[in-house]
């Protein structure tokens, strides 16, 4: 490692004040601190020691928590492909096929996102922050497998610039960066991120007869229009191919959808990692699932159509709810920041997701809009929680 240290030392003068690449010193620091934890020491006054955990470690924890969802997503993309094309395939075939369609998206997301981030670091002269480690992975995981790479790149640039850097960079953003990317695509290029055709990557193959590429949410909505019980429709969908939307299949994630969002199980594994490591707020996660379930029950009680009558627990495994609640809603920067606020914020995300899904046919996927809406509302929630704290202090003074 001494060699690497020496290499850094040897190029260091170029990045110091007066060096020829002086402007790029934040990039130099950024790379050096990834290779080596820096040799900074505490100031002479104040805490003389600091905790061994830094933001890099917090962020990498989130990335690791997403890896089960990524790996499952890769496998599932292949699985869905071979079902649609009617071919027999081994697990290895599926994994290779999935990797070939997912990795380019992941690479584009990281490469374009980091390039944008670095550009801003140089222009604004602020240190390279770790936030994009998480955002880059998230953006890839919420993309459909059949998305043109230039759209990924465009959405990434939009999310990093408009979602984050204009507010001052990591820690200052109002909206979740990855959700911003997805929302951008959803409204700018709806053809590539909604409907029945985009969730299964066919390549140059054609789908076998009778195969439908619809998502569970789409099937549920259509069943409701036809007046058929939703659960029956889900169970019979693509049943002849062994790819029905049974509760178990949806929980496991063997269904079409965005790369990382299909498996409730993998999201829950991620949730366990995030909560056990204390990185994400369990209040938001529990609130999100609880809010969706309770709202599902309310819908059942008020049911006027088949979708509203769908058993409430189905909401928890359909679409991207689990993924969104675990990985998107818990983003500490865009979530509510007070402990009471986190409960309200989480519950409202669950509630809104179900309302949007069931009552608004234009937006079958409610979690994206629910998270973005609550991102905007989070400061308002916190405002009242903080005000309550101030009021307690004021009342104490008069007693």
């Amino acid at each position: 490692m001494k060699a690497l240290q020496n290499l850094f030392d040897s190029i260091k003068p170029n990045f110091e004040k007066g060096g020829k690449w002086e402007k790029f010193h934040t990039l130099y620091e950024g790379h050096r601190t990834i290779a080596f934890a820096p040799d900074l020491i505490t100031k002479s006054k104040g805490a003389q020691i600091k905790d061994a955990t830094d933001l890099k470690r917090v962020m990498i924890t989130v990335v690791i928590a997403m890896i089960p969802a990524l790996l499952f997503g890769i496998l599932n993309i292949g699985h869905q492909h071979f079902i649609a094309s009617g071919e027999e395939a081994t697990l290895v075939d599926k994994a290779i096929f999935g990797a070939l369609s997912v990795l380019p998206i992941l690479i584009v997301s990281y490469a374009v996102g980091l390039a944008t981030e670095f550009t801003f670091c140089v222009i604004r002269n602020h240190p390279v922050s770790e936030g994009y480690l998480v955002s880059g992975m998230l953006i890839a995981l919420v993309m459909p497998p059949y998305i043109p790479l230039w759209q990924v790149a465009l959405a990434t640039i939009f999310a990093v610039v408009i979602g984050k850097e204009v507010f001052g960079g990591t820690g200052m953003n109002i909206l979740n960066v990855a959700m911003t990317a997805r929302a951008f695509l959803y409204f700018a290029y709806p053809a590539q991120i909604s409907g029945d055709q985009v969730w299964t990557y066919l390549g140059d193959k054609t789908a076998v007869d009778g195969f439908s590429g619809a998502t569970a949410l789409g099937v549920a909505y259509n069943a409701s229009i036809d007046g058929a019980p939703v659960v029956d429709a889900l169970n019979s969908h693509n049943a002849s191919f062994g790819a029905d939307f049974s509760f178990f299949n949806m929980f496991m994630g063997w269904i079409p959808g965005s790369i990382g969002e299909t498996s409730t199980l993998m999201a829950l594994i991620g949730a366990v990692i995030l909560v056990a490591t204390g990185v994400a707020s369990w209040k938001i996660i529990v609130g999100g699932f609880g809010g969706a379930y309770v709202m599902g029950l309310v819908m059942n009680a008020l049911a006027v159509n088949e979708y509203m009558a769908m058993p409430a627990h189905y909401h928890l495994v359909m679409g991207g709810l689990a993924f969104g609640v675990v990985f998107m809603a818990t983003d500490p920067v865009s979530a509510a920041q007070t402990e009471v606020g986190k409960w309200i914020y989480g519950i409202m995300i669950g509630v809104l997701t179900v309302i949007i899904r069931v009552t608004n046919p234009a937006y079958p996927e409610g979690i994206m809009l629910a998270v973005l809406f609550m991102n905007v509302m989070a400061p308002l929630i916190d405002y009242y929680v903080v005000k309550a704290n101030k009021t307690r202090r004021l009342q104490r003074a008069t007693v």
Binding site: M1, Q5, E29, T33, I34, A35, F36, A37, P38, D39, L40, I41, T42, K43, S44, G46, A47, Q48, I49, K50, D51, A52, T53, D54, L55, K56, R57, V58, I60, T61, I64, P127, S129, E130, G168, G169, T170, G171, I273, A276, T277, G278, V279, S281, P332, V333, A335, Q337, T338, E339, K342, D382, V386, N389, K390, R392, R393, L394, R396, A397
Partner: protein, 449 residues
């Protein structure tokens, strides 16, 4: 009515280098210094002596022209060897070379039955007064004020902190006299807060004229700021005073003996000291005789006080006025390959993020001064709240100070805090912000504008 408070929030740092309850056999310090920088409230310090003057213990050597009733006295008798100034003639240290045997100024025993204001002025003229700290702001108290209550924390939960039951053994008489004097100065109560998880040391158990409360839980249960919050919190416009037990004993000695006796027993702690233990010395002692020849390695940081709230000293620096402890730990100016990623159970962390396994390690930790990361904006939320056992929203308060929003600072409770109350927040912050400095900045904004 004494109160029993059990706290859950907080974090105990278990470090290598605890001082055993015995005297360390080391050479005595020979020079001593008063450092105006130890007193954050001093506005216009004025030196009353010149280099070459001889002084006795208790001779006034410094005053604050903004509050000249309070004198800062020589802790020992001897010769003024240097008045050290820094940039812009800022007064840094007044150094005294001590006599072999210390002689004291004698100002006569203090009658506690006199008028309250007269008593306060008398105490202010003896050299013991700077032990009395005013809240809000954490500055030396003004004798003209009458506080709503006086708070004494009888135990220190900071890392490797000295055991007052040991250092104040046998001082019962003086401690009681100090309490009696303080009780005269307030219109409210004197609160003596003891550690509820241990037997109460003899010096505190029989104390009269004070309300004895029990606190238990992890650090900062022993911080007087935490205790005030749970007993009688400070609101805007109110004043409370705090005194350390060591200060109470000094006040008691002034009352009963009529002298300023600045002797105190301090703990020598930390992983880099060969010999740890306690030594008897005086306020402002030069630390070189305690650390030179007593180090395990060459590259160390000597800290006056503890690792959370202390101050870095040179090898021949002087103990801070309020400090009862020296801690010596390794300096941390090294790079570590993938240090942010490597799993470790030997690096101390409050967090459990991937690879941080210190929560599984029940032993003692060896820590150094490395920051383990660069400064970042606030990102992670809910962490400060876990180590702050008060009804205060730390993140919002810190942001209010950054934004210099005076109303917010007041409303969010800055009057209740001084640096040491946010020291744990500063330690656990993954974004590595210097929060104690920030809180002092906020306090100065409230004080001076």
């Amino acid at each position: 009515m004494s109160k029993i408070v059990k706290l859950k929030k907080g974090f105990d740092l278990k470090l290598v280098g605890k001082a055993p309850l015995e005297t360390a056999n080391l050479a005595a310090a020979t020079t001593f210094a008063i450092k105006p920088t130890d007193f954050p409230g001093i506005q216009r310090p004025k030196v009353l002596v010149n280099e070459g003057d001889t002084v006795k213990a208790g001779t006034p050597i410094l005053i604050d022209k903004a509050m000249d009733q309070v004198i800062y006295a020589a802790p020992v008798s001897g010769e003024i060897v240097e008045v050290k100034r820094g940039e812009k003639r800022k007064l840094l240290e007044i150094k005294i070379l001590a006599d072999q045997t210390i002689t004291h100024e004698n100002f006569g025993k203090i009658d506690l039955n006199q008028d309250r204001d007269a008593l306060a002025l008398k105490l202010a003229s003896t050299g013991v007064w700077p032990n009395i700290i005013q809240r809000p702001f954490g500055i030396v108290a003004n004798p003209a004020d009458t506080p709503k209550a006086i708070f004494i924390s009888a135990f220190d939960t900071h890392p490797l902190a000295p055991d007052f039951g040991y250092t104040l053994k046998g001082e019962e008489k003086y401690f009681q006299a100090g309490i009696d004097a303080l009780a005269k100065l307030t219109k409210g109560k004197v609160h003596l807060n003891v550690d509820g998880s241990k037997p109460v040391p003899a010096v505190f158990s029989g104390v009269k004229n004070a309300q004895i409360n029990q606190f238990s839980g992890p650090h900062p249960a022993g911080n007087v700021g935490t205790q005030i919050h749970h007993l009688d919190p400070i609101n805007k416009g109110e004043i409370a005073w705090t005194v350390s037990p060591v200060g109470v004993v000094q006040i008691g000695k002034a009352v009963l003996e009529g002298v300023y006796d600045a002797s105190k027993m301090i703990a020598l702690t930390g992983s880099e000291l060969t010999k740890t233990g306690y030594v008897k010395t005086y306020v402002g002692a030069n630390v070189s005789s305690f650390v030179k020849g007593n180090l395990n390695s060459g590259h160390v940081r000597v800290i006056s006080g503890n690792v959370l709230t202390g101050e870095k000293l040179n090898l021949d620096g002087f103990l801070g006025f309020y400090h009862n402890q020296i801690t010596v730990i390794p300096e941390g100016d090294y790079e570590e390959f993938l240090g942010w990623l490597k799993p470790s159970s030997s690096k101390l962390s409050f967090h459990k993020a991937i690879g941080m396994l210190s929560f599984l390690n029940k032993g003692e930790f060896k820590v150094d001064t490395n920051t383990h990361g660069e400064e970042r904006p606030f990102v992670v939320t809910g962490v400060f709240e876990k180590v702050m056992p008060m009804d205060i929203l730390p993140t919002y308060l810190f942001k209010a100070i950054v934004a210099e929003d005076f109303d917010e600072m007041e409303e969010l409770g800055l009057y209740e805090l001084v640096e040491e109350d946010v020291a744990l927040c500063e330690f656990v912050d993954p974004s590595k912000n210097d929060l104690q400095e920030l809180v002092r900045h906020g306090i100065e904004l409230l004080m001076y504008s």
